[in-house]
Amino acid sequence: MAGSSVAGLIVGTVFIVIFASATITLIENVNKAQEASEVELPDPELTLVSADWTWSGTEGTMVYTITNSGTETVNIDHIYLSKDGNDPFSCSTLTWDSSPAIYIFPGETIVATESGLDASDDDIDDNPQTVFLAVFEYSLAVSVT
């Protein structure tokens, strides 16, 4: 009888220890799950108000008007534009109407100019029709006016 009593005591104690460990692990995992759901990914929202193309006779110029219509400040380094499916380029390579233009704050509208397009008359960048803007998981396209 004493043997089974001691055995029961040991196994019972182990069960209690495991139950306590399970509770602690459960709390830790709930916290981990909460941490995973609380990861804040960049969520910018921009509006490419217009993309205006002009041709001077020797070279083209594109003027982009971009508004930060979201709630996050956006680094212009992270904004990419492409014309008619050509290679995207960072907005930081453009000439901005304010200097230094590193960030676009919520509600702010910035005008950027890309000049010297098709200066060599090689049909590259010639009279683009569409501009595609992408920043992180947000993207949009507008027709060139």
């Binding site: 995992n29 992270h78 998981e137």
Partner: protein, 158 residues
């Protein structure tokens, strides 16, 4: 007194059995606990791992002769990615992926990388073909490794 040896045997037997049962239970629980902990860390790492296609999906230039295209992908997560672990499927076909002008394997947040994607077999598309492009990325950190894949419909420009 006559019950002494019998009681002692029962006690020892009980202790041995209890010890074995306890060892099995604790070992099993330890394994379960480790699995749950690793799963939690993996979920956090996966949540931080993101990438997005920044090439215009309506105009992805495809070269039928070289069976090649170039795409730009941006690290849109919150941790660095491993450039060398990027994989791409175009229309269900596995592609050989080569990062162009990438210095090293570290792919920082917000940075866009140009990838050359070459088909392993002859792939001929007609102009305007719409198909699925899948891009998979992995985190630079390997403890644990976060993964993410995106699938977008793209229109090929031949």
């Amino acid at each position: 007194m006559g019950d002494g040896p019998s009681e002692m045997i029962m006690l020892m037997t009980g202790l041995i059995v209890a010890g074995l049962v306890s060892a099995v239970l604790l070992s099993t629980w330890d394994t379960i606990s480790d699995g749950l902990e690793n799963q939690g860390e993996l979920e956090v790492q996966d949540a931080k791992t993101r990438a997005s296609l920044i090439s215009d999906p309506s105009l992805i230039a495809w070269d039928n002769t070289a069976d090649r295209a170039f795409i730009y992908v941006q690290n849109s997560g919150t941790i660095s990615l491993n450039i060398d672990d990027t994989y791409v499927f175009l229309d269900g076909n596995p592609m050989t992926v080569t990062a162009v002008d990438a210095g090293g394997v570290t792919w920082s947040k917000g940075v866009a990388i140009k990838f050359q994607i070459d088909a392993n077999t002859d792939l001929t598309f007609t102009d305007g073909t719409e198909c699925f492009l899948t891009v998979g990325v992995s985190s630079l950190s390997t403890s644990p490794t976060g993964t993410y894949s995106l699938t977008e419909v793209v229109r090929l420009d031949i």
